[in-house]
């Protein structure tokens, strides 16, 4: 067993484990989007970044694929890390603004607006499905196609192929396959309602309004809840 410290707490870690595994074992929260337990760590979403080392040797690494070493000192939530995570969440949200997973993550970190243009895409290219298909299902029916801005996940030549067994594991694992948030569609607004214990909408509508067309009306600056469809009923 190795001795490491996470946020100042001295903990024991198994050799070969990653920082993320150890941290989660001990109950330290580190957000992830592309991490898939039992599969190769991909290191694409970069949300799991932490700071390691002390003083001038302090640096940012991704916890999902950094193997622990004796005497390692880890800080999971420094000012720098939180700042970077918030910006990352904002950037990913601008890609898929209606994802409930991302909205919740935004609420957790207090990201309240998006300063970027929405792209209204559904896929965030975390690659979980690709790894699921290749490693768990041993199928390899889907993979990454293209690069840079044109990167997408697809079957070879975007055609149905016989390798795919229609097992649905890719969908099961996808963080974006959820009922989508029907919240504000305009650039900039985020209601952050879902994760609040008493969402502001409860006071007005008598029930939480996530998933409903009118969601977000309550927090839009300057706008008063002026009788959405549900209220009229």
């Amino acid at each position: 067993m190795l001795n490491i410290t996470i946020n100042g707490a001295e903990v024991k870690a198994q050799e070969g484990a990653t920082i993320l595994e150890v941290a989660r074992d001990y109950g330290f929260y580190i957000p992830t989007l592309c991490y898939l337990e039992g599969h190769d760590s991909y290191g694409a979403c970069r949300l799991c970044i932490v700071e390691i080392g002390e003083g001038s040797r302090r640096r940012v690494v991704t916890s999902c694929n950094y193997p622990v070493e004796e005497g390692l000192s880890v800080q999971t939530d420094t000012k720098k890390i939180i700042g970077h995570r918030k910006l990352l969440i904002e950037l990913i949200l601008s890609r898929a603004p209606n994802s409930k997973t991302l909205q919740d993550l935004a609420s957790y970190y207090g990201v309240e607006k998006i300063r970027f243009k929405n792209k209204n895409d559904d896929c965030i290219l975390c690659g979980k499905c690709v790894r699921m298909c290749n490693e768990q299902m041993q199928s390899g029916a889907i993979g990454f196609v293209g690069r840079g801005k044109n990167l997408k996940i697809s079957t070879p030549f975007s055609k149905a192929n016989e390798v795919c067994r229609n097992c649905g594991a890719c969908m099961y694992i996808c963080p974006m396959v959820e009922v989508q948030c029907r919240g504000p569609k305009t650039t900039g607004d985020l209601c952050n309602g879902c994760l609040r214990v008493t969402p502001t909408c409860v006071e007005v509508y008598d029930r939480q309004m996530c998933y409903v067309e009118d969601c977000g009306t309550c927090v839009r600056p300057g706008s008063k809840p002026t009788g959405g469809k549900s209220q009229k009923k």
């Binding site: 991909y42 290191g43 694409a44 979403c45 970069r46 949300l47 970044i49 940012v60 690494v61 991704t62 694929n65 950094y66 193997p67 720098k80 700042g83 970077h84 910006l87 990352l88 950037l91 990913i92 601008s94 890609r95 300063r115 970027f116 243009k117 965030i124 290219l125 690659g127 993979g143 990454f144 293209g146 690069r147 840079g148 801005k149 044109n150 990167l151």
Partner: protein, 616 residues
């Protein structure tokens, strides 16, 4: 050529090569890709025609070599041993060169290089200011060697370093020698070569690899291509020595498909070295075995990154992976792999031949040896320059490069390719080495050096590099893909006059995050062109955002063409060429541009003899 079976046989063989010299003059034609683009092949055909002619003609040897560095004046013909340097030679000049220079020993005056400053004619290469400050240690052999002939390389003392090493130098001593020499990786990172070699040697595993990274993708950089084309054996020799030091028997050269001549020359070189017993099993009877395969890349910029390159060799998508476990421990096929750049490998035989002590005298405290830069952009002498580390930017650009053409003013120099930064005039006296460049927010990179004059808009330049990087990013990690996309969106908005003052802060924020959180070096350095232009040319960004003006007159949405009435002679030259018929006016009377029709192509400004068209 027969296979050489022992070291003793090799040294005998070497002597026969160095003794083989006749008195005939040699005509050397440079024909790298740059030379070929400017018609060197026709010149070669013209010489060959003369050579094949029967009857009385002057005797001379003929040699085709790789690039000589001075690409601006290609095709270059040199007459050795006098070292006469003829530039911009055409097939029509060939007869005259043969009859005058070779036959009668006279100089063909018009083919000599004329120094644009003093107006003096330069007879030999070393008289030309372009070559005067250079130190051609690595690229010098390009001028002497026909890359398709291993004999030429042997004649120039090739494979002597390998023989010296195989004579019984212990691998540890060899690594120590490279350590004393202070050789740092020339690919961009500037990591000490010996550290990599040592860790790779100590790594567990029976099968290990050495890899040569020849995936040179920076726009405007081509020194690796020139070395591979002109002197492939020096790279093979370097790899052989490295392999011996690390204890490796397999190697790869990863070269991009866009370099057909380089691939061809390396293939020939490998074949010839194998035939001679310098590659393969039991090299020179010493029991040391090493062989090289060529892996051809598809041309993705990101495949120049070591882990992406290895993925690519494995036949996977060129995607980088985290380097928390170094590639010297788990690289290609999860086996210990030592990867170095073309130029790094080419430095190795030199260090062995001349000794670490000699080598470490060249350069600065932290950066030893020479570095080849490709000097391109708005510069008089385009070409490859090899200079000792520590030379100033001013010396490279003005003394060697000959300054900016058309009397324009220098504005900035971009070092280190798309991941490097733009340095302004105030930093021209900066000494060029790994540490100084990264201190000022740029980097050595692989050695691209793009010079810009006052007509370059820095915001537009940042936009160009962001676009390039977004295109070339593998798209895997979120900060790089999404970050670059948003940076480009914001910068594009600035160039069309839709920038907001708070954008600058946002650009800084995204750039800072990308530097920390991106997966590979491409993402971590991608904001460099933007951040360095913002740092040194902030006024230009502010002019775009606040005044909605482009000071350099490049961003089309922010400029307007206007005819200066006092200067316009009414010649109508511009009106004839205007593709939109936006210019009108009576004959011999000042003309006018209709801003509604004008597409701001700038043809009128280029045509006007009176300088009457201005950009506002």
């Amino acid at each position: 050529m027969k296979k050489i079976h022992s070291l003793a046989e090799f040294s005998r063989f070497q002597k026969t090569w160095s003794a083989r010299k006749n008195g005939d003059p040699t005509v050397v034609v440079s024909s790298g890709t740059c030379g070929q683009a400017r018609g060197s092949e026709d010149v070669i055909i013209a010489f060959e025609k003369v050579l094949s002619r029967r009857g009385k003609r002057p005797q001379f040897d003929f040699k085709v070599t790789g690039c000589h560095g001075f690409c601006e004046v290609e095709p270059i013909v040199r007459i050795e041993p006098r070292g006469i340097f003829y530039q911009r030679v055409t097939p029509a000049d060939v007869e005259e060169i043969i009859s005058e220079t070779i036959g009668e020993g006279k100089i063909v005056d018009r083919l000599l290089f004329r120094d644009p400053v003093t107006g003096e004619k330069c007879l030999r290469a070393k008289d030309i200011p372009f070559y005067r400050k250079q130190k051609l240690l690595i690229s010098g052999n390009n001028m002497r060697i026909n890359p398709a002939r291993i004999e030429d390389y042997l004649e120039a003392g090739g494979y002597a370093a390998l023989a010296k090493v195989l004579k019984g130098v212990k691998p540890e001593r060899l690594i120590d020698e490279v350590k004393k020499a202070g050789l740092r990786g020339r690919g961009g990172g500037g990591f000490f070569a010996w550290k990599k070699w040592e860790s790779c040697r100590n790594a567990h595993g029976k099968i290990k690899y050495v890899i040569c990274n020849a995936d040179e993708g920076d726009p405007g950089a081509y020194m690796d291509r020139s070395l591979l084309e002109g002197n492939p054996h020096s790279i093979l020799e370097g790899m052989l020595i490295g392999a011996y030091a690390i204890g490796v028997s397999e190697g790869y050269i990863y070269v991009r498909r866009e370099y057909p001549l380089a691939i061809q020359n390396v293939e020939t070189a490998i074949e010839q070295a194998r035939k001679l017993g310098l590659l393969g099993r039991n090299i020179l009877g010493t029991g040391f075995s090493f062989d090289v395969k060529i892996a051809i890349g598809g041309g993705a910029f990101v495949c120049g990154e070591s882990t992406a390159l290895m993925s690519s060799i494995e036949g996977k998508r060129g995607e980088p992976r985290a380097k928390y476990v170094h590639t010297v421990e788990k690289g290609l096929w999860n086996r210990p792999s030592n990867l170095n750049n073309v130029e790094t490998w080419a430095n190795v035989p030199l260090i062995i031949n001349k000794g670490a002590k000699w080598y470490s005298k060249i350069g600065t405290e932290g950066s030893k040896g020479t570095k080849i830069f490709s000097l391109v952009g708005k510069i008089n002498n385009t070409g490859l320059v090899e200079v000792p580390m520590g030379i100033t930017l001013r010396e490279i650009i003005f003394d060697i490069g000959g300054g900016i053409p058309d009397g324009k003013k220098f504005k900035a120099v971009q070092t280190g390719g798309p991941s490097g930064g733009c340095l302004p005039e105030s930093l021209l006296d900066l000494s060029v080495d790994f540490d100084r460049l990264s201190e000022v927010g740029s980097m050595m990179g692989s050695g691209g050096m793009i010079v810009m004059d006052e007509t370059t808009c820095m915001v537009d330049l940042a936009k160009y590099f962001l676009n390039f990087l977004l295109d070339e990013s593998c798209g895997m990690c979120f900060p790089c893909r999404e970050g670059l996309d948003q940076l480009l969106t914001i910068v594009t908005a600035i160039t069309v006059g839709k920038g907001k003052p708070e954008d600058l802060q946002l650009l800084q924020e995204i750039g800072g995050m990308m530097k920390d959180a991106s997966l590979c070096a491409l993402g971590r350095t991608a904001p460099n062109p933007l951040l360095s232009t913002m740092r040194y040319f902030q006024d230009e960004y502010e002019a775009h955002i606040l005044k909605k003006k482009c000071p350099a007159g490049v961003c089309k949405a922010l400029i307007c063409y206007e005819i200066w009435k006092d200067k316009c002679a009414g010649c109508a030259a511009c009106a004839k060429l205007c593709p939109e018929k936006a210019i009108s006016g009576a004959k011999n009377r000042p003309h006018e541009i209709d801003p509604a029709k004008c597409i701001k192509c700038g043809i009128c400004k280029d045509t006007c003899k009176y300088g009457a068209i201005q950009v506002i």
